[in-house]
């Protein structure tokens, strides 16, 4: 089994305010995967610089990442940055879709789903972690979308930092700005290598949302009931 990760963290945006917490998320993930889970450095691809985090660059890297996952392989895709809900024209009709801001533009959930449908091997296992505002999914006038980031494959699980209507937060934790959701997820993975989604959901309920600290975000899980008892990272 091959294990691969694609980690995207964006602090700098042409069309949105600068963030300062996302690069630390990427560093935390890299340390966690290498030190706790023995991912070889060659299996971790990180995109953090402006030229690496353009829409084109991320989509190309995501396609390559999915294509590299063969049957039995494990992949984890991580995104820390601005998220939003965007209006797009679909055949003259206005649709509301989830999007992730890149340094130069926006990647829409529809574009991610297209790549998942065309490139994800259904016999591989994929975990997607998104720490961004509105990452729980978009709805258009009440029509619900289970998760815009999830494929129909049984072995694809998505964790997001908040509901569709909520924002996600970064804050100074341990003297450094980092994503609050990412912090709790990486902390819980540090404590238990075989942490399952169910265990994490039980854990995170005690930490988020946290009204006292102003973290009005409720992490979300998208997967099958069977996925709940799988380890988040293998």
């Amino acid at each position: 089994m091959t294990r691969l990760s694609l980690i995207v963290g964006i602090n700098y945006y042409r069309d949105a305010n600068t963030l300062i917490s996302c690069l630390q998320d990427i560093r935390d993930w890299k340390d966690l995967l290498m030190q706790k889970f023995d991912f070889p450095v060659s299996s971790i691809r990180m995109l953090t610089q402006v030229k690496e985090t353009t829409k084109r660059s991320i989509l190309d890297s995501y396609r390559d990442f999915l294509s590299a996952l063969k049957a039995g392989d494990y992949g984890i895709f991580i995104f820390s940055g601005h998220g939003g809900q965007f209006i797009v024209d679909e055949g003259g009709k206005q649709e509301l879709v989830e999007g992730l801001r890149t340094s130069d533009d926006v990647i829409y959930s529809t574009e991610i789903r297209q790549l998942l449908e065309s490139h994800l091997n259904p016999h591989s296992r994929l975990v997607t972690v998104i720490d961004a505002c509105h990452s729980g999914g978009a709805t258009l006038q009440g029509s619900s979308v289970p998760s815009p980031w999830r494929s129909d494959h049984q072995n694809h699980v998505v964790l997001t930092s908040c509901r569709q209507s909520e924002r996600a937060y970064g804050d100074a934790i341990g003297g450094t700005m980092r994503g609050v959701f990412t912090y709790y997820l990486s902390q819980s993975l540090q404590q238990s290598q075989k942490l399952t989604f169910r265990e994490f959901l039980d854990y995170i309920k005690n930490h988020l949302p946290n009204k006292q600290k102003g973290y009005h975000q409720t992490p979300q899980f998208f997967g099958t009931p069977e996925n709940l008892d799988q380890s988040i990272i293998v």
């Binding site: 602090n11 949105a16 690069l23 560093r27 939003g84 801001r101 937060y169 700005m177 994503g179």
Partner: protein, 248 residues
């Protein structure tokens, strides 16, 4: 109520390009046309100086409510204050994604409205007031009801004056660049917000990234925090920086 009041930006093939500041005392009709038709798109106060940026969007009408922009001219006028602000010559003009939380997309008169951003590089203690012959990288067609939102990004004032990249000599700075720096008695330093701004400028190569190394800022390393929680989503403050397009 959230209402971001806006300028009107009339687009007309008859608007004459501005050619020179050397207009005679008794301008001819052609000269009058050059100095007329500047339309405000941005107003702000920085370094205690109140200034406006005016624009001419030049091009051709390609439909009854559509105007193709071939060239943009900008004029910055300082109105009050002691520090002259000028343009750096760097401009970025592009179509913005339609963020559903932006109230500008909820105007029922313009359901298909697009928003464009024009980002203008500025500098304190600089004198370049006119930005000429700027041609958009991609073809831009503005339609009636579209919005042009202007944004300014400041680069540091003359670094020889502020000593911003000279930490050993910063106490000898003659001008504390308040966009990036702060004075606390004898101590002068780059603020946390200033560091974020410098990082952003360097990331987009609006300043030389190598300069950050002189003050121990490494773009590849995370920034220390302390500023409180930040939201990973956009917000849309009311500011006098947006204009509604009106194709004539």
């Amino acid at each position: 109520m959230h209402e971001n009041l806006k300028y009107n930006l009339k687009l007309d093939e008859g608007i004459a390009a501005f050619e020179t500041l050397n207009i005679s005392d008794t301008p001819t009709a052609e000269e009058k046309a050059q100095i007329a038709d500047w339309q405000p798109i941005f107003s702000e106060t920085n370094y205690g100086t109140h200034y406006l940026i005016y624009a001419k969007f030049l091009g051709k009408k390609i439909d009854k409510d559509a105007f193709q922009v071939d060239r943009v001219q900008l004029y910055l006028q300082n109105f009050s204050g002691g520090v002259t602000i000028g343009m750096t010559g760097k401009v970025d003009f592009f179509q913005s994604a339609k963020d559903a939380t932006d109230p500008d997309y909820k105007d029922p008169r313009y359901p298909n409205r697009q928003k464009y951003k024009i980002q203008v590089g500025l500098q304190g203690m600089a004198t370049n007031q006119v930005m000429d012959h700027y041609k958009p990288e991609k073809e831009i067609v503005l339609k009636t009801g579209d919005i042009v939102q202007a944004e300014a990004f400041f680069i540091p004032v003359d670094t020889g004056i502020s000593k911003i990249f000279d930490p050993d000599d910063m106490t000898n700075c003659c001008f504390v660049d308040e966009i990036f720096m702060e004075r606390n008695g004898d101590e002068i330093f780059v603020t946390s917000v200033g560091e974020t701004r410098l990082r952003d400028l360097a990331a987009f190569e609006r300043i030389d990234p190598k300069q950050l190394g002189k003050i121990n800022i490494d773009l590849n390393k995370p920034q220390d925090g302390g500023g409180g929680p930040e939201e990973r989503g956009s917000y849309h403050p009311c500011k006098p920086t947006s204009a509604i397009v009106d194709v004539q």
